[in-house]
């Protein structure tokens, strides 16, 4: 494949879907609203009763989990937009043009990245208003951003699969519900030590816990242990599997 063509086409198509977001900023607001509501609920309702066993404030404790919930709900829009392109005939039009084949998907994936980053900034700003504080420096923030970007890319490529294969628009976006639920079965809101055996076993061996623990440690200025490598392995592993499945589904549909 011609690399210059790929980058040129991806840039044009990313510009197109970014324009969609600019025209319907509600997709960014709604992506941010649910996590913000959850954050208010957890901090001001449940938070007082939760003993995290750490010195940091509860708002700081639960923020990493809220960030992951934001991403999980944000990628549903990628599935939705892909579904619309597929059903509205835009895909057929692009596919019958002499453009780089994968640019059509990458345009949506990069748009998801940009949209999610904006939603995440909104959530972090609200958390700051609620008393979230961190001593994290520029490098720490870069590390957090790196983990978040990897996780967003992984979930976005995962969202591409239902976007391409779902039969209805509801089906295309419904896949994100279990993803939004995952942080609840993790160390995101309560320490896993309080959970009964099997739940705890699940919580400690699913991707969210290691990612949450890593981000939390970076924000708190704590020493990072194994969890960072586990988190990175989960993110990259998910990304590779989702990418392979998504591009496979794409080839089968539009070979």
């Amino acid at each position: 494949m011609n690399t210059a063509r790929f980058f040129g086409d991806t840039a044009v198509l990313t510009g197109r879907s970014l324009r969609h977001i600019g025209r319907s900023p509600d997709t960014i607001i709604t992506t941010a609203i649910t996590p913000v509501a959850m954050m208010l609920l957890f901090v001001y309702v449940f938070g007082g009763a939760i003993d995290t066993g750490s010195h940091e404030s509860y708002v700081s404790y639960q923020l990493p989990g809220i960030l992951l919930i934001t991403i999980a709900s944000g990628v549903a829009y990628t599935a939705y937009r892909l579904f619309q392109d597929k059903n509205g005939g835009m895909f057929d039009r692009f596919q019958s043009m002499p453009i780089a084949r994968s640019a059509v998907l990458w345009g949506h994936v990069l748009t998801s990245l940009v949209a999610n980053m904006i939603s995440l900034v909104v959530v972090v700003l609200v958390a700051l208003l609620m008393g979230f504080r961190t001593g994290a420096g520029v490098l720490d923030w870069l590390a957090v951003t790196g983990i978040i970007v990897l996780f967003t890319l992984a979930l976005t490529w995962l969202a591409v699969i239902p976007g391409l294969t779902a039969g209805t628009v509801e089906g295309a976006s419904a896949f994100s519900y279990p993803l939004i639920f995952l942080p609840f079965l993790s160390s995101a809101f309560v320490p896993t030590e309080t959970m009964p055996g099997p739940v705890r076993a699940f919580a400690e061996h699913q991707p969210v816990t290691s990612i949450v623990d890593s981000i939390r440690a970076i924000f708190a200025g704590q020493e990072l242990g194994n969890e960072l490598w586990v988190a990175l392995a989960w993110c990259i592993g998910l990304l590779v599997v989702a990418y392979v499945l998504a591009t496979g589904a794409y080839r089968r549909k539009f070979a």
Partner: protein, 259 residues
């Protein structure tokens, strides 16, 4: 006759499981002509168009568009064609002008903005150009769709049921656009289930029935093929509709007999 046809199809077959959509389609379309592929729903029109525009691969048979093999030279085929699909493939959230600019940029045209403005004027959409396509009527949507297909001056244009779902006025607008195209030397292959549309527009007509082109020729050819009426006191010429129904009926009978 032109020695190298714009579209050359031989023995094209395509099945989905037990459903044999195409059972050996043969057709040839001369450069610069309008060819109408006529057939009822499920005859295989869209499948044929999708194979010719590289969106689907055929099970068997050969197809060349602008001299390029759709199977082995898909990129060359894509550079020679444009497709206007069955449902207007326009981005509703973008304005009409933005849709044109998008396609022009993807086709690496110099000065996409000027191309967009020129096409908007040609299709009488200059005023609507700054509005989102979601606000357009069915006819305007089709016109912007066809305008998008003209960018980069493709030598072959495929229009899959360009007027399905349009009111009569919009249909006439689209017909005029198609005539203008062919006048400019572009080869047009259009599919339709409307007999009048084929009669109005096409230089040659192919009747696709149950996955085969069972009759092909000019309107006069098809009329000549129609068995002479016995009750000769009826002065009316057979309409294309009557020809179509008669041909598809006799073919259905022969298929049954051969079983």
């Amino acid at each position: 006759m032109n020695p190298t046809p714009a579209i050359q199809v031989a023995g094209l077959t395509k099945s989905y499981g037990d459903v044999h959509v195409l059972r050996g389609v043969d057709l040839s379309v001369e450069k610069g002509s309008i060819f109408a592929l006529l057939g009822s729903n499920g005859a295989g029109k869209t499948t044929t168009v999708k194979i010719l525009t590289t969106l689907l691969t055929a099970d068997d048979g050969s197809a060349r568009v602008n001299g390029f093999d759709v199977r082995t030279q898909p990129h060359d085929v894509r550079s020679s064609i444009s497709l206007t699909g069955q449902f207007a493939a326009v981005d509703e959230i973008l304005t009409g002008r933005e849709n044109l600019v998008l396609v022009a940029r993807l086709l690496r045209q110099p000065n996409p903005g000027a191309i967009a403005d020129e096409l908007l004027e040609r299709f009488s959409l200059t005023e609507a150009g700054g509005r989102r396509v979601a606000t357009y009527s069915g006819g305007m949507r089709r016109r912007i769709d066809i305008a998008m297909s003209l960018i980069g001056s493709p030598s072959v244009i495929f229009l899959d049921e360009p007027t399905t779902g349009l009111d009569p006025e919009a249909r006439i607008e689209v017909w005029q656009a198609v005539r203008d195209l062919a006048a400019g030397g572009t080869t047009v292959l259009l599919t339709t289930q409307y007999l009048e549309e084929a009669e109005q527009l096409a230089d040659r007509i192919g009747i696709l029935h149950e996955g085969r082109v069972i009759a092909e020729g000019t309107l006069a050819d098809l009329k000549a093929m129609f068995p002479p009426a016995k009750q000769e006191y009826v002065e009316k010429q057979p309409s294309l509709e009557e020809i179509f129904l008669a041909i598809t009926k006799t073919s259905a009978v022969t298929v049954k007999e051969s079983r």
